[in-house]
Subunit: 222 residues, 2 copies
Amino acid sequence: MNTLIVYAHHEPSSFTSAMKNLATEVLSRQGHNVLLSDLYTQGFNPLAQKWDFITVTGEHFNYMLEQKHAARLDWAFSPDIVAEIQKVKEADLLLIVSPLWWLSVPAILKGWFDRVLAMGVAWDNDKIYENGLLRGKQAMLIAAASHPTDYFQESGHHRATPIQILHPINHGTLAFCGYSVHEPFVAMNVLAVTDEVRAQILHDLQYRLEHLLDSPQWLIRY
Amino acid sequence: MNTLIVYAHHEPSSFTSAMKNLATEVLSRQGHNVLLSDLYTQGFNPLAQKWDFITVTGEHFNYMLEQKHAARLDWAFSPDIVAEIQKVKEADLLLIVSPLWWLSVPAILKGWFDRVLAMGVAWDNDKIYENGLLRGKQAMLIAAASHPTDYFQESGHHRATPIQILHPINHGTLAFCGYSVHEPFVAMNVLAVTDEVRAQILHDLQYRLEHLLDSPQWLIRY
């Protein structure tokens, strides 16, 4: 099975990096082919711009419609987008490994969603959700949050659970493209945990990853 | 009253642009001082990077902790961040005017949240939500969605209402910093509406903006 890990943290000593390394290790050990998009290291550009397309059609620039046009011309996108699209198409499993910033992903990863999961490539007019163009593939979000668990409750500071908070990503982005989406793995309080708790969280993640295929925990299943 | 409009669309003929122009017009006519951050035009960089700080303290780069350090040194951020922070501090009202991409804001605007609403400037350890450092200010999100209204229901394609979908922004970002947050204004189906419907939506927005201060519709009030 081909897996693509899209990773969005600067720092090799971060908790997010540890989770990315663990995922790479576990999936490789299981014999999967693991591709990596290390967004900061590869200098991924998150800006949706006119020069993302070989030709721009409309008098009125609409990014989404230009994506559809470029997709029709056999992926007439800029080379950095084509490279990512190829990885997405090859991967049976997409793992998004990211810190949570503002209850969402950092701009560099939001830009990856904006530019790579293009109209005409990942979805189209009637090709969304259970009919999304990436149907048949699986995705899972692995995130690191700096706040403790009690913030992430309807009665907590954030007034919402992780599943509610991550709805725009798990449902509105991944499922929208047709991915079957695993329950996300969210590590809490990562800047403050003891070494013991840190090891326990990584152990829990390892268990989830080792059993991802034989006992999947689906959030959304197509 | 000082208003800052943060605007995130490329195209002057877009619905988002029309809403931004209307907001500028209405608030100026009411005698408010209107500042604009036109993110694409000013080439705003959404990437959170080491060179956002005059000095980097930690051996392990943590963006949030570097923000706190830079804030302590009288805003030792890169000049583009300082310019935006100054506008945020001056503005009594923040209007975010953006298209909805992936049930969220485009990367360029997510990067503005990531880089400008810095730890030590907009919030701090015990200074979040009702104690956020921007307490006393108001904010409102004005968004354009390409999908029709029936997508934005718990029984609709997106399986959530606009308020649920926008929770990470209205609650987790704006309220987190201490802003009192107005009910968002979300224009639906903007690529497909007739001229008549378009005019009606803009009329509704005009009414909301004209009465923003004398009869506010609060989503979150501190």
